[in-house]
Amino acid sequence: MTERPRLAVVGAGPAGLAGALAAAARGVDVTLVDAAGRPGGQFHRQPSPALGAPPRQGHTWERLRTGLDRHRVTHLTEHHVWCVQRDSMSFLVHALLGPAQDEGVSLRADAVLLATGGHEYVLPFPGWTLPGVITAGGAQAMLKGERVLPGRHVVVAGTGPLLLPVATGLAAAGAEVAALVESADPGAVPRRFPDLLVRPDKLAEGAGYAVRLLRHRVRILTRHTVVAAHGTDRLEAVTVAPLSPGGRSLRILCDTLAVGHGMLPGTDLAETLGCTLTGTAVRVDAEQRTDVPGAWAAGETTGIGGAALALAEGHIAGRSAAARLYGRTPDPAGWAPAARARSRLRRFFAAVDAVCAPPPGRAGSVPDDTVVCRCEEVTAGEVRTAVSTLGATDARSAKLLTRAGMGWCQGRMCGPAVAALTGCPLTPGRRPFARPVPLGVLAALPDPDAPAP
């Protein structure tokens, strides 16, 4: 009997779902592994069933969800993968179970598709650690997943394409959105028109959000940034300053600030597996293969670009993996539409990225007493001292000399700020464990000297 080849897909967001379906439809035995309790990832985040709310609708989502059942994809929920390991023949996916994450489980696969998405980051400013300051993605998650408003009077701030849907969603759900503060310069958009117009629908989507915000009477401040959050026990107001010279700062009352400066690819699993990165993203070829044989990657782990791009990449990865697992060379003509969408979306988001780059120098200029690493409570001044008098010249040595990035989040949040303060480019931090692992789980790993089962 020939067994079906096994593909483990890590991440059940658009990329992982599309990849799982594409491979399963072609005869591969697919196991989809995700930390969340429900499929969907960031974009198709589903309301908690405990709320009894109707599930989100939508054609794409419907297709993905029903596909999971139809193609008998094994979906392991609440599996937090902390390491993917490759041995001579195959892969071992090591996960921690349930919300408690105390217990370990390992599953074997002949190939893996890493679709772990990305994470948001926030560049620090005075007061950013006050209760009431949350990430834009966090606000979105509360709204989509828990159906709760993070606050009544909200300021949405930072930069990037996420801010528009977040502000719109909050306004539509009944929050008073006091302002949308975007540091990007709309004047930079026309220069990028040739690239942006490859996806007029996306451009229209953005415009649509803007129109809805105006209808909700949300004030949109571009080329502005939040320079301070105020409050004693929790957030009471923010100070917003113009980035162009000459303008006036203003103080806006609010109980919630939803802030985000962009997303970074989640590359921990891929890096530990030995995949080469380009900049901060996993490097893949036209078939979405990494340079580790048997390992594919898709979605935001290979670069930030939204749900539609993640879907296209996942689809291609799944088809390529299926063909290769059966020993065939895939025919790219079969996924030509997805490839076309992929190249257009990559071009579109490269242009968006260029427009929405956080203002240069901003993160490097926060006051000395501002905490940059909240896990270890390291201030900007301490990082500056490590650079000016202790001989730190990069993020790693700054971390060694200040502890910035050594805490729970392992620098996922403060990495960009520490890099900016050190004056060096952001490099992905080496994180061999994608999740904190109980020592008991490490100790119970299979004995490397025992014969393989």
Binding site: L390, G391, P438, L445, P448
Partner: protein, 386 residues
């Protein structure tokens, strides 16, 4: 042609050993410059732990250097102690079985004869010294001279306090030699530094630096992994390790040896380290290594089974075939001094090494005999080729 000298000494390497050399040389009134291709503490110093141990060393030159170094560390701690997280917390070596205990007892007797304070501790007293220790062990030995620093901070603060000029981001690409062979300084990717003395404190890369001066020093890497847990309230009070660790350190095996030294740090996390493997410069995560560390640590402190490891990291200890460092002048290249190859003890041995190098640089009688550390010893005695 006489070149204008940049300084009296160029120290290559801004790790713990280079920092200590710079400190003691500067105190001997020498004008010192330190060059490193990376940041301060970017080499093995930033990838290991900061145990200052006498407990793991048997009688011999390394122990003598460790005792000298321990005294010097205590002296330094007077001014820099808090900044470098110096903690004279003492070590506790555990023997789980009666057989291990009798081996440990013999080992400790030899150490005592060499000047180490080593106090036998019975099972009951062990439990009061370390309340979370696994019950039922045969006994142990307490070493009050064992201490701890945070290595990266120690290197950085010592360098700063030395007043030496530090050139980070500058790679040494050549060692300048006069026609008669004497060393005249170093060539770097940002120009030459002229000096009558050059100290090779390039750690694991010390063999490459020696090669630039056309002398052989077979320094090789020995990989080690360390596990770092989430921050905890103090539950592990000493440096605690199992007695079989002592055997591992002297081991010549290329295979993985685990030797879990378990210690709480000032900042809260418990450090568990370190494995010893000879696998070249392979940095990729080894699950067998971290598994072995976790098993060893839980074997000593069962409560650790439920504690989370936040991260693990690897470093490459610089070792020489006879497991002793190279310290002192190189007769094959007059003006070149070596201070490298300290293997798993370079933090602890840095102070003594720095002092001995400063004495050699200024022509003073050394505090201890340098013969066992002669850099040219592998030319006559053979040894692995680099």
């Amino acid at each position: 042609m006489a070149k204008r000298l940049t300084c009296d000494v160029v120290v290559v390497g801004a790790g713990m050993v280079g920092a200590a050399c710079a400190w003691y040389a500067a105190r001997a009134s020498l004008d010192v410059r330190v060059v490193d291709r990376g940041p301060v503490a970017g080499g093995t110093t930033g990838a290991g732990e900061g145990n200052l141990l006498v407990s793991d060393k048997g009688p011999g030159p390394e122990l003598e250097l460790a005792l000298l170094s321990a005294r010097l560390w205590a002296e330094l701690a007077d001014g820099l102690g808090a900044a470098v997280e110096y903690e004279p917390k003492g070590g506790l070596v555990i023997a789980s079985t009666p057989a291990a205990l009798s081996a440990l007892t013999r080992f400790a007797a030899g150490q005592r004869a060499a000047g180490v304070t080593a106090d036998p501790v019975g099972p009951d007293e062990l439990r009061s010294l370390e309340p979370y220790l696994i019950p039922g062990v045969a006994g142990g030995v307490r070493y009050p001279q064992d201490a701890q620093v945070m290595p990266a901070l120690a290197a950085a603060h010592l360098l700063r306090a030395s007043g030496a000029r530090v050139h980070t981001g500058r790679t040494v690409t050549g060692v300048l030699r006069a026609p008669d062979g004497t060393v005249r300084g170093v060539r770097t990717d940002h120009g030459d530094l002229h000096a009558p003395a050059v100290v090779n404190a390039a750690g694991t890369w010390g063999g490459d630096l020696a090669a630039l001066a056309r002398v052989r020093l077979p320094v090789l890497p020995r990989r080690g992994f360390v596990l770092v847990t989430e921050p905890l309230p103090r539950r592990v009070r000493h440096k605690v390790y199992a007695a079989d660790y002592v055997a591992d350190v002297a081991s010549d095996s290329a295979a993985l040896r685990s030797s879990p030294v378990v210690e709480g740090t000032a900042a809260g996390p418990v450090l568990i380290g370190a494995t010893r493997e000879r696998v070249g410069f392979d940095r990729s995560l080894s699950l067998p290594a971290v598994r072995a560390l976790a098993r060893g640590a839980i074997g000593l402190f069962p409560f650790l089974a439920g504690v989370r490891a936040l991260r693990t990291y690897a470093g490459f200890r610089p070792y020489l075939p006879d497991h002793l460092p190279a310290i002192g002048p190189d007769p094959r290249a007059p003006g070149l001094f070596h201070a490298c190859g300290h293997e798993g003890a370079g933090i602890g041995l840095a102070t003594g090494t720095g002092r001995l190098i400063a004495q050699a640089l200024t022509g003073k009688a050394p505090d201890m005999d340098l013969t066992p550390f002669r850099p040219e010893r592998f030319d006559t005695e053979g040894g692995e080729s680099a």
